[in-house]
């Protein structure tokens, strides 16, 4: 038996016999001794909580392989793992806060029956060790080539996805099939599903409106194409040209991603609205009549393009960097023109990146809520419809669930298409062999096209941000341009009291909470996301596709639905975590994990497996291989997922609106409140501060993770051959 297995058996015992089994409520156990021993599962079980006693059995079973190690270790571990998990789940779900949770138990044993609170540290630890011991058992039986690290990782990630994605999402999707009172009503579902306001095609034949589903789909495809093209242009310029303002371009392409919601939309209105700055100039100089064209599809399209191009860029830059010049050089040696090379070698090699960028753009557009809210006008999309089905005057959660199912269907379709397009081709370009080539300069027309796309766009971004910057310092944007610092003082006043600094500004509270939650969730997100990507590309196991889809699920579902589903699922035992900051962290981790997964997959599929294999042949275990070989090569993906998850945790709105509490208020809910009250100046001032914080964080992340050093020479470097290495 390995020391790891032994360690987990000990931890399982600690969780059951030492740590408090229930709740994170410190009010339950006032003293430390009571808290540590008196609240443990074992003690409570003997004091009358009989349903905890059966869990003792699998823990005893685990002692047998410890006593007699020569026995059938695998069978004992597997059996006790399964039994333990099953017992914990069974008692957790059948005994609730107010007695039995299932009708049949009520009928059999009488009401109300025993009751219990939500699980705590002890239960979590014991359940985790059962899970990992089960995985160790499976590894010992030969799963995944007997590698316990791989089986445990798969087990943990799967369990997390089941708990934090499948479980809450299924609770809310179930309500699609019920009526107001919660009873099963399939006909109502069909009626809601086939509603004309969803699927109507009237806009093709008349001037009536089309269904909201078509609107959403159309916008999503448009945005996905746009962001992928722009992202590619930026990525090509950043990696393949000697453009002088590369660094600046990079910063600017990332700016929109770190912009809190509503702000881009607001800036667009101030620029292009009927009384906007640009509209005024056009009217006065050229007599172009003022109009409201920005409200509707054009406005939403532009703002989403602004907001999501950085995501495409972040995914694509790693991929473009990774493409081996060797192949391109070979192509040129064979007398292909640079344009032909680009078309037939470079572009096809970028396909994993392009596909993933497209998928992310599409899904992001579908789930985006802030921009359609501000700029949508009469162009309706599913995400806003869903939000207002939950919180609007209709208050129809079932309808929201139906609309979510449609949205989910679209995502599923996009996911499937992406798989079909990538097919089974191989995109490996980072291998252990030295790359002798120099990255080709871009063919002229590609370079020109990239510049033409990227530079106006970059200038446009600058203008938007200038407006945002000014907005924080003037009294009322669009009306009264008297300079003022009032907005910043209201939000971020710091006073000097006798005992130190007193943060009296109204925004400090939410600011600190947001930074804390974002800083906690970013590394977790990146770790879980990249681990998942590694499992998906480097390991083969059954159910891989379902597993992959599971990781995408919470991303595809609109935030509002996720928020409500988290309350429905986690407000009652066995997992009772609403009102804590933990639920916010978990929500962010699982909503943002897909970006880590996608960029990880895109980057990993370029890295030759023979690098891993070489490491394995030399005797390293898969964990060591991952740490020493894969992770350094994954740096762009690490940066992408860290940055993205940190930023998203600071800027997401719709999911957290239901999860914030007085103590864990988030910056975005504060901003939304200000926008609702019409205090744009304050909202913009707060956003400016957030943007600066996020910029600092991005720089810090870049610095901490570092650049990936592939053995590639830049086109400008002189000819002396460098020592060629795959990894430093």
């Amino acid at each position: 038996m390995s020391r790891a297995t032994l360690g987990w058996i000990v931890l399982g015992w600690i969780g059951y016999a030492v740590l408090p089994w229930y709740g994170f409520d410190s009010a339950v156990a006032p003293t430390l001794s009571e808290f540590v021993l008196g609240g443990s599962g074992l003690v409570l079980g003997m004091k009358g909580a009989w349903w905890l006693l059966p869990i003792f059995a699998p823990l005893l079973m685990l002692l047998r392989p410890v006593m007699r190690p020569e026995g059938r270790l695998a069978d004992w571990l597997t059996a006790s793992g399964i039994l333990g998990l099953a017992l914990i789940l069974l008692q957790g779900f059948s005994i609730g806060l107010n007695g039995w949770t299932f009708g049949i138990l009520k009928a059999l044993f009488g009401e109300p029956g025993p009751h219990q609170a939500g699980m705590g540290y002890g239960a979590a630890l014991t359940a985790t060790s059962f899970l990992i011991l089960l995985c160790h058992g499976l590894a010992a039986r030969g799963w995944c080539r007997g590698d316990a690290f791989v089986t445990s990782s798969i087990g943990i990630v799967m369990a997390l996805i089941v708990v934090f994605v499948f479980f809450p999402v299924s609770t809310i999707l179930a309500s699609a099939f019920g009526d107001d009172k919660g009873s099963f009503a399939p006909i109502l579902f069909v009626m809601k599903f086939t509603d004309r306001s969803i699927w109507g095609l009237d806009c093709l034949s008349s001037d009536l409106r089309c269904g909201v589903a078509w609107n959403t789909l159309f916008l999503g495809v448009l945005v996905a194409f746009g962001t992928t093209a722009l992202g590619l242009a930026f990525a090509l310029i950043a990696t393949r040209t000697s453009f002088r303002f590369k660094k600046l371009l990079r910063v600017m392409s990332v700016l929109p991603i770190i912009t809190p919601p509503f702000v881009i939309g607001l800036a667009l209105i101030l620029l292009f609205g009927r009384s906007g700055a640009l509209s005024a100039i056009l009217y006065e100089w050229f007599g172009v009549p003022r109009s409201r064209w920005i409200y509707g599809l054009p406005g939403v399209f532009i703002s989403q393009l602004l907001a999501f191009t950085p995501i495409a860029f972040l995914v694509l830059i790693g991929v473009v960097q990774g493409i081996s010049p060797t192949l391109e050089e070979a192509s040129q040696t064979l007398r292909a023109k640079s344009w032909t090379t680009f078309l037939t070698v470079t572009l096809p090699l970028m396909r994993p990146g392009l596909a993933n960028a497209f998928l992310l753009g599409f899904v992001e557009s579908l789930a985006d809520f802030g921009n359609p809210l501000v700029l949508g006008g009469n162009y309706e999309v599913l995400s806003t419809k869903i939000f207002f089905a939950v919180v609007g005057a209709q208050q129809d959660q079932g309808r929201a669930a139906v609309l979510s199912i449609i949205l989910l269907g679209f995502t599923l379709g996009a996911f499937w298409l992406q798989h079909a397009w990538l097919g089974k081709k191989v995109y490996t370009t980072v291998t252990g062999k030295g790359d002798a080539g120099i990255p080709l300069p871009l063919p002229r027309r590609v370079a020109v096209a990239s510049y033409l796309a990227a530079i106006p766009w970059a200038i446009f971004t600058v203008v938007i941000y200038a407006i945002i910057l000014i907005g924080g310092f003037v009294r009322s944007m669009g009306r009264d341009y008297t300079p003022t610092l009032d907005h910043f003082l209201t939000a971020f006043r710091v006073e000097r009291a006798d005992w130190g600094l007193y943060f009296s500004g109204s925004a400090w509270n939410s600011f600190f909470a947001t930074v804390k939650v974002a800083a906690l969730s970013a590394p977790l997100t990146a770790a879980i996301g990249l681990l998942t990507a590694y499992l998906l590309t480097r390991q083969r196991f059954s159910g891989q596709r379902a597993f992959e889809f599971g990781t995408l699920l919470s991303f595809a579902i609109p935030g509002t639905v996720v928020g409500v589903s988290y309350i429905l699922a986690f407000n009652v035992p066995p997992i009772e975590i609403t009102g804590t900051g933990f639920i916010l962290v978990m929500c962010f981790v699982f909503r943002n994990m897909p970006v880590g997964v996608r960029s990880g997959i895109a980057t990993l599929s370029q890295i030759d497996k023979s690098l891993d294999e070489a490491s394995l042949t030399l005797g390293a275990r898969s964990f060591t291989t991952m740490r020493r070989i894969v992770l350094p090569l994954l740096r762009p993906a690490i940066v992408a997922s860290l940055v993205y998850s940190f930023v998203r945790a600071m800027t997401a709105v719709s999911a957290v609106i239901f999860l914030v509490t007085a103590e864990y208020n988030m910056a975005t809910t504060y901003i939304v409140g200000r926008v609702e009250a019409g205090e744009f100046g304050l909202a913009i001032a707060y956003s400016t501060v957030l943007i600066i914080v996020m910029l600092l964080a991005i720089v810090a992340i870049q610095f901490a993770v570092g650049e990936r050093r592939l053995g590639r020479r830049s086109a400008t470097a002189n000819a002396a051959p460098l020592a060629v290495q795959a990894a430093p």
């Binding site: 987990w8 209105i269 208050q395």
Partner: protein
């Protein structure tokens, strides 16, 4: 090697555990606390919180959300309620919550000091919610933009003039309680058939159905629309902010909202919730609204009405039937009728 694996797993676990301990520390359920969901503007919410804390020493954990969001949250949390009191926000979601048994009955000793409309709200909701402020519906126009149009609307009927084509903005009643109040108001003034005729005619002049009820007021201030339909106190906030807007109380009469307060069923701090309930009905508490730049009319008779507030006694108010138009059945019927007959009309 095994050790490193173990180490990795342990680090992961330790990470999760630290996250737990960092974040689980305070679910405000300790003694002497009150968890409040607040449905008005942040400033007003804060003023209420600090004033109550100063007065009673009870620590208030306040969360601000829109009233629709609060309703959705209270409903989702029904099995294990987190909040004690739900203060503020338009009356419909409060009525809905009362109908669905999410809130509890309470009779405050302060009830006698209240205006009739506040008490009527309480009676209609079977003692489960009570009026704390009220605001009338109306519209406003941007005084600079209206010059070129050559009209000066004073009544609901004036909004139908072709001169205002594409110049009126209102919210979508499906998403906004404000716009639903308008729908119900028009029907109560003109009758259902004539009312829908009016809304269809108005549709030709509407440039956009916004999602949020206060958005038309903001769009007016920015000059994005000439006329906006909203609650008058929301428009007044813009006027106080020096926007070139004139507020109009329509001559045919108009409907109003009653901002309400309810105690959540299963509240963990029931006594404190009642204490807050009684306190929130006093003039001392109600005058905080005007100080926080919210110009609704308070429900306690002896609270001074802010001078900026639209005077309810000078506005022709209709006898709004909150029980009928607040019920979920009637609402669903009217909303789907509006969706099918008005919203999908070609311009």
């Amino acid at each position: 090697m095994k050790l490193t694996k173990n180490f990795a797993a342990a680090t992961m676990l330790a990470g999760v555990a630290t996250a737990f301990s960092f974040l689980s520390a305070g679910t405000a359920q300790a003694q002497g606390a009150l968890v409040m969901y607040c449905g008005v503007q942040e400033e007003w919410c804060r003023a209420m919180t600090t004033a109550f804390e100063r007065e009673t020493g009870i620590k208030v954990a306040m969360t601000r959300k829109s009233s629709g969001e609060i309703y959705a949250q209270v409903k989702a949390e029904a099995a294990n309620p987190r909040a004690d009191i739900w203060w503020g926000g338009t009356g419909d979601p409060h009525m809905q919550a009362a109908e669905e048994d999410l809130t509890v009955e309470y009779k405050s000793p302060k009830n006698e000091e209240l205006q009739d409309w506040a008490v009527r709200q309480w009676e209609q909701a079977k003692h489960r919610t009570i009026g704390i402020y009220s605001g009338a519906l109306g519209f406003g126009y941007n005084t600079e933009l209206i010059k070129s149009k050559g009209v000066e609307p004073k009544c609901w009927a004036d909004l139908l003039t072709p001169k205002l084509k594409d110049e009126v903005q209102m919210a979508d009643p499906n998403s906004s309680g404000t716009a639903y109040t308008l729908l119900a108001t028009i029907i109560q003034i003109m009758g259902e058939e004539k009312g829908f005729e009016y809304l269809k005619a108005l549709h030709k002049n509407v440039n956009q159905y916004t999602k949020s009820g206060a958005a038309p007021a903001k769009a007016m201030a920015l000059g994005e629309t000439t006329v906006g339909i909203a609650f008058m106190h929301d428009i007044v906030t813009m006027v106080v902010d020096k926007a070139p807007i004139k507020v109009v109380a329509p001559c045919e009469g108009t409907g109003y909202e009653i901002g309400s307060m309810s105690i959540i069923k299963g509240a963990k701090n029931m006594d404190n919730a009642k204490k807050f309930y009684d306190w929130a009905l006093t003039p001392a508490a109600q005058k905080l609204g005007a100080e926080a730049k919210s110009y609704q009319v308070p429900s306690n008779k002896s609270t001074p009405v802010p001078p900026e507030a639209p005077k309810l006694n000078e506005i022709k108010l209709i006898n709004f039937d909150f029980a009928k138009y607040g019920s979920s059945e009637e609402r669903k019927r009217l909303l789907s009728k509006w969706d099918n007959e008005v919203k999908n009309l070609p311009k």
